[in-house]
């Protein structure tokens, strides 16, 4: 088991390094970072001066190895744009994004799992159609449009919620719903499909024949098995929310990690981008690992497999 874990860890580190090398190379493929730092009205002299100052005149491999050497000692360097230690900026912004992701995922799960279960208990009923409608709307509606609609009604017209910032819980209500609603259809449909499969199995029929209460059959026996793929999906979606909440963070002016990543790409802030990619890779790896552990806990057969 230990050997298996170490092997997985080794592969994970290699994946993270490969991703960071590719990111590093792609920044150069998308244009000269010195031009990005110098700004739009920069002259050749300005750009050359910046290239020398930041060491962009060195071979790319030397730059990458230099970064890697420092990163291995825990030094991610200084952001070229924000002029602050990269680690400091990332760990200042990470909690905001994690809080947003957690709120959004909670909203998605609280809405989608009960609806998925109800839809499976009464397939083709009114509640199933309602769940399907919610899923279709969630899948089809762009999150930015949904977010702006909420801003229009709850922010401007009724003035119930603040539009921007991350100072209070109120600031997270609209962004969490906008971000979470996008995830809802997939979770709901997966719960419904899983429940339908499980409810048709022999052991559920046996449980019912034994005279167990419907509540016990549904939640203790059926849902526990049906929810296994949902856990994996939720873990992946949480990872997506950490790195992919750019649009929502931009609309609601939440200074999180997704937004920071996007901005760092725009301005070719190499040290910042490299560190974010590494942090997000590690998160994905950790989340996948946690999802496996959770699944093993939910399904004893996985523990022995």
């Amino acid at each position: 088991m230990l050997a298996y874990l170490l092997r997985r860890l080794g592969v994970a580190v290699l994946v993270a390094l490969t991703v960071s090398l590719i990111t590093f190379s792609m920044i150069y493929l998308s244009g000269d970072p010195a031009v990005a730092l110098a700004g739009e009205s920069a002259t050749e002299e300005d750009i050359e001066s910046i290239r020398r100052y930041y060491g962009y005149d060195r071979p790319i491999l030397v730059q990458y190895l230099d970064w890697l050497g420092r990163a291995l000692t825990g030094d991610f360097g200084q952001s070229h744009y924000l002029k602050a230690p990269v680690a400091e900026v990332i760990f200042e912004r990470l909690p905001t994004t994690m809080l947003l992701g957690a709120c959004a995922l909670t909203f998605a799960l609280v809405l989608s799992i009960p609806l998925g279960v109800l839809a499976a208990i009464r397939p083709n009923s009114l509640i199933d159609r309602l769940a399907l409608t919610i899923a279709v709307i969630g899948q089809a509606m762009p999150s930015f449009w949904f977010a702006l609609t909420m801003v229009l009604w709850f922010g401007i017209t009724w003035r119930l919620l603040p539009i921007t910032g991350s100072d209070s819980w109120a600031n997270f209500v609209m962004p969490s719903i906008a971000l979470g609603y996008y995830v809802t259809p997939a979770v709901m449909r997966l719960t419904r499909a899983g429940m339908l499969d499980v409810l048709a199995t022999d052991y559920i029929r046996t449980a019912r024949a034994k005279g167990l209460r419907p509540h016990t059959v549904l939640f203790k026996h059926a849902l526990r098995n049906a929810i296994i793929p949902v856990v994996s999906l939720a873990a992946v979606q949480f990872g997506f929310m950490l790195g992919g909440s750019i649009v929502i963070e931009t609309i609601f002016a939440i200074n999180g990690l997704g937004y920071l990543a996007w901005e760092s790409i725009q301005r070719a802030d190499l040290p910042m981008m490299q560190a974010i990619v590494l942090v997000l890779s590690v998160f994905y790896i950790l989340l996948t690992f946690l999802a496996d552990m959770l699944n093993a806990w939910l399904d004893p057969r996985l523990r022995t497999a």
Binding site: E40, S41, E45, K83, G155, I163, V173, T250
Partner: protein, 512 residues
């Protein structure tokens, strides 16, 4: 979900609503909040070259001179008198009774320190062009300083008023040393003599300024009338508008034309359209290095120029303050003139020229752009009407500039802001002096611009610049397009006048 679950969710939402804080902007709080889409991390005019820092540069710092936008004349600011000793040396007498935000007195040592720091080879100043015309500065008396130039530089006064801000002596000495062993000058806390002082900076989020109670009286900037000026980054234009409508912020710009018109219709917001120092131009691959030699033919360039309806683009897309330009410079810059060959909109003439050039059925090519896609799409539409099929490649600025430098763009549709310097040396001389941005490398133009850039006689400068501009427009190395205009939207409580150089003077704003 159980009923109790819904109740909990409802309670949480109600609690969240209760926690929503009040807006901090507006007349009631005597706090002007302005917002743009850009993050400000460094509050220093030499180590941040964004437009936001150009604006803040005038808030927190003073230059030696002040340019009066109405008269175009230079007036005393930190300098009270200035005199050219020869065309490479200037003597300056300084204002007395001025102090920095940290309480120290302003004097000639500060001017000498600032100049000598920024011109040093390892200073790391981002827009080196703003300062590298100076060689050094020396203290010559209790209240006087002498600035030495590297070469005659007639635009010196423009740069001294718009780009050389004075910091206290020793200001950058405390800069921390980075892991690379270099001093990080951008990390030093901002200190200037300006009408506002920075009191709180959160990199990427906000910069808070407060009125400087000790700001000297009788200066051209006046005395600050608003207690606090806060800058806040809001990336999304719709969010900016939402906050403006709900009183969360007081001032925005770069509002799209349709949104500005709708905001004006609400009757709650003041909307203004003002010109900027930014120009739009199309540069041709006149040397045929991009893989097509079609634009080496002057008749084809003329056909393109006649095919594009620049008036329509300015009127319908850019805004009423935008004007069509015919020369490769901004009309407000010294030395710029529209008395050059002009290419009116005439699609029939364009078709005839194409036929003469051997392309009666038109041709296809790639057009490159990075800003305001809709402007370039309008150009593509006009070209299609005369049979020229242009395929748009829309890139990030840095990627496009690489391609331009490599000569790989048949036509690039670009813009240039001249760093708001009101002198042609910041635009035409940059593009046509033989550097990598020069599409033609025309020896005659290069010589004319060199003469204009190093001659101090204004009449001679105007004459040689006119010759250079006439050659550029006549040969169509560039098709100058139009000046940019910006829509501003701000609170109706605010007295604010947009200016033509794209530098909002918040220090001169007041509440109604």
């Amino acid at each position: 979900m159980r009923a109790s679950g819904y109740a909990a969710l409802g309670a949480a939402t109600a609690l969240a609503c209760a926690l929503a804080g009040p807006a901090q902007a507006g007349k009631a709080n005597d706090t002007l909040v302005w917002s743009t889409d850009r993050e400000v991390a460094v509050v220093d005019p030499y180590y941040n070259n964004t437009r936001e820092l150009v604006i803040m540069g005038h808030l927190g710092w003073d230059a030696l001179l002040f340019r009066n936008l109405e008269t175009g004349e230079y007036e005393p600011l930190l300098a009270t008198e200035w005199e050219w000793v020869d065309n490479m040396t200037m003597d300056i007498t300084l204002r007395e009774g001025v102090s920095f935000h940290d309480g120290t007195s302003f004097g000639p040592e500060d001017v000498a320190y600032t100049v000598n720091h920024v011109v040093a080879e390892d200073s790391g100043v981002l827009t080196i062009k703003n300062v590298n015309w100076m060689k050094s500065a020396e203290v010559t008396g209790d209240n006087t300083v002498r600035i030495h130039l590297n070469a005659p530089f007639p635009a010196a006064l423009a740069y001294m008023a718009g780009a050389v801000f004075i910091v206290p002596e020793g200001h950058y000495d405390s800069a921390p040393v980075g892991a690379d062993g270099k001093k990080d000058y951008a990390a030093v806390a901002p200190v200037g003599t300006g009408p506002y002082k920075a009191v709180d900076v959160k990199a990427g989020e906000y910069v808070h300024w407060e009125a400087n109670p000790d700001y000297f009286a009788g200066g051209p900037k006046g005395s600050p009338a608003i207690s606090k000026i806060h800058f806040r980054t809001l990336k999304e234009p719709n969010t900016q508008i939402a906050e403006l409508l709900t009183g969360g912020i007081d001032w925005i710009w770069d509002v799209p034309k349709d949104q500005a018109e709708r905001l004006e219709e609400t009757g709650q917001i003041t909307v203004a359209n003002a010109k900027t120092m930014r120009i739009s131009y199309m540069a041709f691959d006149v040397e045929g290095t991009s893989g097509t030699d079609v634009f080496t033919n002057p008749k084809v360039r003329q056909a393109v120029a006649h095919a594009i309806n620049r008036e329509s683009i300015t009127r319908n897309l850019v805004g009423p303050a935008s004007v069509v330009i015919h020369a490769a410079c901004h009309p407000d810059q010294f030395g710029c003139t529209d008395d050059v060959p002009q290419w009116e909109y005439d699609p029939e003439k364009a078709k005839a020229l194409l036929a003469e050039a051997g392309y009666p059925d038109g041709f296809e090519f790639d057009i490159y752009a990075y800003r305001q896609r809709e402007f370039t799409e309008a150009v593509i539409g006009d070209l299609a009407r005369v049979g020229i099929k242009a395929k748009l490649t829309f890139l990030q600025y840095r990627a496009l500039r690489d391609l331009v430098w490599e000569g790989k763009a048949p036509i690039n549709h670009m813009t240039w802001g001249s760093n708001s310097i009101p002198d042609i040396s910041a635009s035409t001389s940059h593009f046509f002096s033989g550097g990598r941005d020069d599409p033609a490398k025309d020896e005659e133009v290069i010589a004319l611009l060199k003469e204009g850039d190093t001659t101090t006689d204004p009449a001679v400068r105007k004459e040689v610049y006119k010759k250079a501009l006439s050659k550029i427009s006549g040969e169509l190395y560039w098709l100058p397009m139009f000046t940019y205009a910006k829509y501003y939207a701000f609170s109706q409580d605010l007295n604010f006048e947009p200016t033509s150089d794209e530098i909002p003077r918040f220090y001169a704003a007041s509440w109604k």
